[in-house]
Assembly symmetry: C2
Homo-oligomer: 253 residues x 2
């Protein structure tokens, strides 16, 4: 809509492919050299482009700094919340959002079930890391050495007969979760409670959070809960898109 800005911004993807000199920029923009020069100068003043020794232009440090700062100031919780509400609205069950931090997985948001059944979870509380669906999702994305290190240091409390028994079983489960892109906890923490979860990913594809839907057997069976999987994954993907700033938000999908 604004010609000048439009032209200036068109330079960025051009330079992302590799360094270019003034002539090349002007030609590929379809403008006079002097015009390209002024645009490049302005971009340069803002640190978005950098001039290297041979006078060619590259993308500058400011771009990285901006991207990083933006990521740091992004609040998953704030962005995810409306989606969690919608998911709760449609399923009626308890919805959790959790993140991984220094060896722990903690709940950072929760929308209570409409059914009058209490669940033993609290925002800020560390998750039962060896069995919870959200924990599996978050740990499954860690780089392999760290994943092994964490798995080796954990205790594996036998909450129920279905709890993860040891590190080997846990790592195997994480590999499955990593491959399929979703996770469950079928009575692994409390005998009568099942969960289905999916990961929220940032712009770089790394898992930044995980959400899950939990329901007790007395309300829905595990099979019935699993039919919500598309719903859960769809919500997680929608949050991922919104979080990473991608277009095509196309409703709640």
């Amino acid at each position: 809509m604004s010609q000048t800005v439009d032209r200036a911004l068109s330079i960025l993807p051009l330079l992302a492919q590799g360094p270019a000199d003034l002539g090349q920029v002007a030609e590929r923009l379809g403008v006079h050299k002097s015009t390209a020069l002024r645009l490049l100068r302005t971009l340069h003043e803002h640190g978005l482009v950098h001039r290297q020794q041979d006078q060619r232009y590259r993308l500058g440090a400011r771009l990285f700094a901006l991207a990083q700062e933006a990521v740091e100031n992004l609040d998953v919780r704030e962005i995810a919340h409306p989606y969690l509400l919608a998911l709760n609205e449609r399923t009626g069950h308890t919805v959790h959002l959790a993140v991984y931090e220094e060896g722990e997985v903690v709940y950072i948001d929760k929308v209570e079930s409409r059914y009058p059944v209490r669940m033993y979870s609290r925002i800020g509380k560390p998750v039962a890391i060896t069995v919870a669906a959200v924990a599996k999702l978050l740990l499954a994305d860690l780089p392999e050495p760290e994943r092994r290190a964490v798995a080796a240091k954990l205790d594996y409390p036998p909450y129920t007969p279905r709890s993860t028994p040891n590190a080997a079983a846990f790592l195997k489960e994480l590999a499955t979760v990593r491959a399929q892109g979703w996770a469950t906890d079928l009575g692994g923490h409390e005998e009568s409670i099942n969960c289905v979860g999916a990961p929220v990913r940032g712009a770089d594809g790394r898992v930044v959070a995980a959400l899950s839907v939990s329901a007790p057997n007395v309300v829905v069976t595990a099979e019935e809960l699993l039919t919500l999987l598309p719903e859960v994954r769809g919500t997680a993907d929608a949050i991922s898109r919104e979080y990473s700033g991608k277009p095509a938000t196309k409703d709640t999908a």
Copy 2:
């Protein structure tokens, strides 16, 4: 230099701090709302800003994509080469550049000594990973679990009496290197050859490459070689600045 572009670009750091609506952007820019709208629209078309559900503006995915693409297309070797030449010019010794890749450290560039002494290295050849200065620098920057994993899997060949004997000693050495920001190899690979090295860092502070200066005892003693440390570190820092696109290249320092 270009008012319109200047204003448009000023929006980016503003949004990096967090989402803002049209009115806020206009106010903090000191322009009329309609002007801010047109600028934001242009930024939006290029994907640099993203409009979230509540109509507020955030930085968009394109920014992250650009930063990532730029990093991928950056060639450390190309950028570092002139600096390596200059360092060789000033010291007269052999200069190496190496990177870490999937458990190995390999030389990716080399400028031969002016003295008629051959060294057993080749571009593309894996480095003696347990003793070389560049290897220590690169491994010292790995995340702790991966560092331990790599150290545990290595062989520790006794090239000389001064070679690193085992994983424990190696990890201790890496901790020292990590803390001091430079590394040496004093006769650890070949009895009569010493090296001093320093790390090249990317925009995020991670070590992306390492360079070293090597010289045999018959030319300079280890003590004399160590006097080149400021020179070596200065060169590495200059490459880091250039590589990460930071301003103030101020000569070769």
